[in-house]
Amino acid sequence: MLYAILSIFLVAAVAPVVHRLTGRASGWVLGLLPAALFVYFLSFLPAVSSGESIVLVWPWMPGLDIQLSFLVDGLSLLFALLVSGIGFFIVTYAGRYLQAHRDLGRFYVIILAFMGSMLGLVLADNLIALFVFWELTSITSYLLIGYNHEDKDARKYALQGLFVTVGGGLALLAGIIMLAMAGGSWELSEILNNGDVVREHALYLPLLLLILLGAFTKSAQVPFHFWLPRAMAAPTPVSAYLHSATMVKAGVYLLARLNPSLGGTDIWFTTLALFGAVTMFTGVFLAFRSTGVKKVLAYSTVMALGTLTMLIGVGTETALLAAMAFLLAHSLYKGALFMVAGILDHEAGAKDFLQTGGLRSALPVTAAFAILAALSLGGVIPLFGFVAKELMLEAVLDAPGLVGILSLFAVLTAILGVAVAAIVGIRPWFGARADTPKTPQHEAPVAMLAGPAVLASLGLIFGLGPGLADQGLINAAAASVQGAPVDGYLALWHGINLPLAISAFSLVAGGLLYWRWEQARRALAWVDRAAEYGPEKGYFKMMDGLVWISEWQTRVLQNGYLRYYVIVTVAMTAGLVGVTAQLFEVSVGTLHFERLQIHEMAIIAILVASMLFAVLTRSRLGAVAALGSLGFTVALVYVLYSAADVGITQVLVETLTVILLVLVLFRLPGFLNLSSSALRVRDAGIALVTGGMITLLILSTLDARLFPSISQYFIEESEPSGYGRNIVNVVLVDFRALDTLGEIFVLALAAIGVYAMLRFRAEDRR
């Protein structure tokens, strides 16, 4: 398993080379990998469908109790199969669709890395690993959405998607940590069996809200739905992949995954059901309102995500079964439809449904599969979409609460859904032949038709024989969401019942709406104006605010005056030390002024005099001389107080310093007096306060010995372990040798810098 996921990242790394070697066939060659993975995941199917869940563990950071572990059960296997299976078609499709694009090699790298992240996310058992993969999908999808990086909009909306999902990711991280605290483990397989403990834990509410925030942003629930249609700036294969099987489903996956542990409470039910229902309706409504091909499809994805969230919230056995069936149905038809959208663009240059019409004679094969997929989207018998929709309606009618509201939204959504399906399945293909920007010369190439053909056909096959999907996988997936075996089953024909009546009614009503599409759109023109005040407005306001704040603080803090930097640094240090001293009640004990000996008095006097002279003199030579006198006196202090080595070093360095200062400073002009006396008083005040604080700090430490000094160790071990009698030397070259190495590095860097600066000057003159 580990190797399966690693292999994708490895192949991603060499993808550009493969692309260069294989040229036009690169899509097929690289598609072999997801195809192989699909087969590999299929090998888990017999075990998983018999109800097993398999945990595979690799130690990762054993010290922190973090392991790289994978969990294969019905839910993760369903997702893994979708990710790898649809991934195969996406890679081959992209190889053809982006054939002329000069960055196709780079595209393969990102899409494969994205695929690996997504697989890691759905298969991870460890929460930290799950989070890492979660963020990786955000980052790689950012690169995918912004793939046409020369396009300003692509960059802008890629960033928008990144901000929304990564912002949610931060909340998720906090939520996951709390979940691990509440559940007592980092392993999903253990937390999921500990549901009661988690639900009764004091942290349940905060962790639930944080995790929901993460899931809702990723899965584009209202009010975060705006980033998803914007992500259409991506190339079509990316949209097809992000929408059908991956990225946006990650949030739904997380909700489904954690259902056994977090679900079943009132707040879980209410939040998910309501947000899901509102998102579902908003999505389908906006889809009906739109005319751009990809936009309609994107909003219908929002509808699907809302439906899934609602069903997971409802949480009955039927609802979970419906959720898993709908997940599969949606992945199949949405993948197919997006690829068809790409064909429309590629062959006819059409990006808007209003530009299309009567294309079925020019693109007969594409039209056939598009219609098949659209029928599944509309939930028309006998497609798999119908099976899922019937179950969904049944689940909503039997919901444990809010039946009225949820049913209302569900019925409205069903009606509009039929209308949207008609827009997709009828508008481009039938009616009068429209003047598309490009006249289609030929049917789409095989690489681009393979995906829609297989996915749409599967929608029909699973519809006619729901048992094929059911017994294999859907049942097992619903069982892992429920945390217990599921008795229900999928069927095409449930007899004549209320859901069937609603379906029939929605077909008629939706058909009518499609017939009056033009008028309806015109009547709904106010939505565009209202949308200007929607959540996206808030997003842009927030981003503007962020930019404004950073510009303001840069102007204030990075003002370019060294003295203000020094003042800020010094004042912060003095302030923090002062406050800390207050808080911990640091005090200066009684001062013991010993009687100073005559040479000590002389040293102090010279130090103070040199210091004052250096500050007050107006002569550069005088200042340098004063510094020299100060430095040599300091050396004397070292020597007198048992630090001979330090003293010797100080003498050497001080000599060099004076020579250097004399050599260089005298090439500069004399002192300037640039500040007014008021400024000088202010600076002197700052300096004296800070100096005084240093004095107090030293005085307060003189009597305090909180911990035994580690020096004792060096003193005792110097001779036995270091074989040296000069302890300071042993410390420098043995105990703390790395510090000395660092010191040598600093000196070498300084020397290189000095040399470079002198060298540049020589070249300037030449």
């Binding site: 003295r563 107080y641 500069l668 300096a687 302890i727």
Partner: protein
């Protein structure tokens, strides 16, 4: 002696900061030199000042004869002196080079070069 040194070190810090707040670039260099001396003396003072007790081990013994001065503080100060010199040398050459290019000794005039 430590008590008196506390005041001297505080004074050195004050002098260093005052000089670093001046606009003249030469005064900045002087401030730097004062600051590095002040910091070294600070460490040295806080570790405790003992006269006549060097951290040396007499021949034939494995530990110093009696209590010795803190060898760790001395090693740290020794390192700091050398690094301080490296920084100073770099700063001085940089300032000199900047003066050659900008022809200004006033840091407020240098500020405008990156606009």
């Amino acid at each position: 002696m430590e008590v008196v040194m506390a005041f001297v070190v505080g004074g050195l810090y004050a002098a260093a900061i005052y000089m670093m707040l001046r606009r003249s670039i030469v005064k900045l260099v002087i401030g730097l030199v004062l600051l590095s001396n002040a910091a070294n003396l600070l460490i040295f003072t806080v570790a405790g000042m003992k006269s006549g007790a060097p951290p040396l081990i007499p021949p034939g013994m494995t530990v110093p004869d009696g209590a010795s001065a803190d060898p760790l503080a001395q090693a740290v100060v020794l390192t700091a002196i050398v690094i301080g010199f490296g920084v100073l040398a770099f700063a001085v050459v940089l300032i000199h080079r900047a003066y050659e290019v900008v022809k200004a000794d006033d840091m407020d005039q240098m500020k405008d070069t990156d606009r």
